[in-house]
């Protein structure tokens, strides 16, 4: 018998029915319910990694990396607010609720943001004393649920953000399951303790762009026109949503791509609704430009920002600032390998933990369990966040200087090329080595 007689066809996995798809079918068949999880889209998407900066050359000269200044400040809310806010860096902390996060985590976000000279943001459930006390600049969210909404908190805030949607679930409301509805969380939201809290997806007192304009007017009147008013949308129809937000009177548009995180939503929602951050920026900037509002109404982009290159690329495409949520939690200590043993007990591993809705976070961040929350030292975690924000800024400055820019806002699409046809089309920059912009040239 020859060796060839023993050859058999090796097992071949299906590209369509891959291991994850098969496991999900089996899980659905066993439980009868969809998967709920935190985090943002995990599938491979066109992203900032598909773009490259060109850097300076004979036709452009760079700035000295350690000698010449590259500005990073950004002013938000200059369109209508009497008191616009100025941040030292163009990286803000996205809205995340007390409830989804522990009190020490909210405090740590405020501490870290304040050390770095930027803002943090409330979430469903209103403002906690801890986050106000530790956040030099605090943005107060007005969400569809209005949980915890109080006029005194509006007045204590430095800016107001009307949340229409978020990138992880455009068209969906918040979700906070009973495990995390502690007495304090329940009291803040005027809900019975321990129930599953499913926030509405629409605002209770306005239903369209014309109403939104009047709603913004009311908030301005209540706060005597002092506060910048942001409008946050999940990336779906960025051109029209941006244009309508501007028309409604927003000072700032916050645009959250589908990689943006959530505390809890159906996996099918996270992975299949909305568009990638990369695809959303240029249409939003185009809307601002068409209305002669680019740089007058500021654009904050979020969803999948990880490093200074992402920051620089978002700004080069026309954003005025970026916002981070998932990355901020990781900087605080989420998914830290030192908790690997506990992650394994939860059926996951460090780096993949996304069951933030279950309230069993070993790092003490996405939980209300009193013992687990004690694990997070808000001072040390805040320091880590500040370090991370500093690195994001330094990295973005490094790239900007290499492109010859004396301020991060001087980065422009002309500094970028794309590695793939898809990213070239989405970002509207040339495919590397060509002058071809799909759909444009």
């Amino acid at each position: 018998m020859s060796a060839d007689d023993h050859r058999v066809t090796p097992p071949r996995a299906s590209a369509t029915f891959d291991a994850h798809a098969i496991a999900e079918i089996q899980r659905a068949a066993a439980t009868g319910i969809y998967d709920i999880r935190g985090f943002g889209a995990k599938r491979k998407l066109p992203h900032f990694d598909d773009l490259l900066f060109l850097g300076a050359s004979i036709s452009r000269y760079p700035l000295e990396g350690y000698r010449e200044r590259c500005g990073t400040d950004v002013t938000l809310g200059s369109r209508h607010a009497k008191k616009p806010i100025t941040l030292q860096i163009p990286v803000t902390i996205a809205g995340m609720s007390f409830g989804s996060l522990s009190a020490p985590a909210k405090e740590a976000l405020g501490r870290g943001a304040s050390l770095a000279g930027t803002s943090t943001t409330t979430g469903d459930g209103g403002m906690t004393a801890e986050e106000r006390a530790h956040s030099k600049t605090l943005v107060y969210q007005v969400l569809p649920s209005r949980y915890g909404m109080e006029p005194d908190q509006l007045r204590k805030a430095d800016a107001i953000e009307i949340v229409v949607g978020q990138g992880a679930k455009p068209g969906g409301g918040g979700m906070l399951l009973g495990q995390k509805i502690s007495k304090r969380v329940a009291d803040m939201r005027t809900l019975p303790e321990g129930i599953d809290q499913r926030s509405p997806c629409r605002h209770p007192d306005w239903t369209g762009p014309d109403d939104l304009e009047i709603k913004i007017h009311e908030l301005r009147e209540i706060t005597d026109w002092e506060k910048p008013i942001y409008v946050k949308v999940g990336a779906a129809r960025p051109y029209y949503d941006t244009a309508l937000a501007v028309k409604a009177g927003a000072d700032v548009v916050v645009l959250d791509g589908m990689q943006g995180g959530t505390a809890a939503t159906q996996d099918v929602f996270i992975e299949h609704v909305g568009i990638p951050t990369l695809a959303a920026i240029r249409p939003a900037v185009q809307a601002l430009s068409d209305l002669d509002m680019h740089r007058k109404v500021q654009l904050i982009v979020s969803g999948g920002i990880r490093n200074g290159a992402d920051v620089a690329k978002a700004l080069a495409l026309g954003a005025d600032a970026v916002s981070i949520g998932t990355a901020a939690l990781i900087a605080l200590g989420d998914n830290d390998p030192r908790f690997e043993e506990e992650y394994r007990k939860l059926g996951t591993t460090a780096g993949s933990y996304d069951d933030w809705h279950e309230g069993r976070d070993p790092a003490g961040i996405t939980t209300q369990d009193p013992e687990l929350t004690k694990r997070l030292d808000p001072v040390a975690a805040g320091r880590r966040l500040a370090n991370y924000l500093s690195v994001l800024t330094l990295e973005a400055q490094t790239i900007a200087r290499a492109c010859g820019k004396s301020h991060l806002h001087n980065l422009e699409p002309e500094d970028l090329v794309a590695l793939t046809v898809e990213s070239a089309a989405m970002a509207q920059v040339p495919l590397a080595g060509t002058n071809w912009i799909p759909g444009k040239t």
Partner: protein
């Protein structure tokens, strides 16, 4: 008009002053009686008040009149647009005519009295405010209402009390249909006493036994796939 010059019984004429000037003056005064003339359907009128003010508005108002009111007593001698007294915290808001959609939305405290009818979503996401509607209310009223009370002397539209939490609902007329997880409940003595108090506060002479009480069945407080068809 300078805030310092405002005195009790001030007349604020929106034909002569801007909305901004009127609201700023009301914000700058923590007490006093004010009469607002010529509102002409203005939006966001007398919103964000925080003080022992008595504000009377002669005419119809637009959206969000008395929004987020604290302590003040605001009377609208006319009809009110969408979002009347939205997120009200305390005090009294009284409308002598009808109110449009989402009256008292997310209200946290105080008393809202509507002499006429209220449109859809009256008392949506109520969080402690008490509302008395002497006429009827539109569909989806008291949707997701968490706390507080809604008293309706007339009839309700469809899906009354849908996805209700712990708010208490009292209806004298006909309920067109109940929303998910909302059921008729026994009117116990404490409910009768609470209703009597609300009717008295609103100046209503109706008899308590004429009302039925509705509340949450609490079956949907925890998501279970077996209940998916009820949403």
């Amino acid at each position: 008009m300078d805030a310092a010059l405002a005195s009790r019984n001030s007349v604020l004429d929106l034909a002569q002053m801007s909305l901004r000037e009127v609201n700023q003056l009301l914000h700058d005064n923590r007490s006093g009686d004010f009469l607002i003339r010529n509102p002409r359907g203005a939006h966001a009128l007398a919103c964000g008040l925080d003080g022992d003010l008595n504000v009377s508005i002669d005419g119809h108002v637009g959206y969000y009149c008395a929004g987020m009111n604290k302590r003040a007593h605001v009377t609208v001698n006319g009809n009110a647009g969408t979002g009347l007294a939205e997120n009200m915290m305390s005090g009294l808001v009284h409308v002598t005519g009808d109110a449009s959609q989402s009256a008292g939305a997310t209200g946290c405290g105080g008393l809202l009295v509507i002499d006429g009818n209220a449109s859809a979503r009256c008392g949506i996401a109520l969080r402690g405010l008490d509302i008395v509607v002497k006429g009827s209310v539109g569909h989806m009223s008291a949707f997701m209402a968490q706390a507080g009370s809604l008293v309706v002397l007339g009839d309700t539209g469809d899906a009354f009390g849908d996805s209700l939490y712990e708010a208490k609902l009292f209806v004298r007329g006909t309920v067109k249909s109940l929303g998910a997880d909302c059921i008729e409940k026994e009117m116990r003595d404490e409910h009768k006493a609470a209703l009597r108090q609300l009717l008295d506060a609103a100046g209503v002479k109706a008899d308590v036994p004429e009302f039925k009480r509705y509340g949450s069945a609490r079956k949907l407080y925890h998501f279970h796939v077996d209940n998916a068809g009820q949403y």
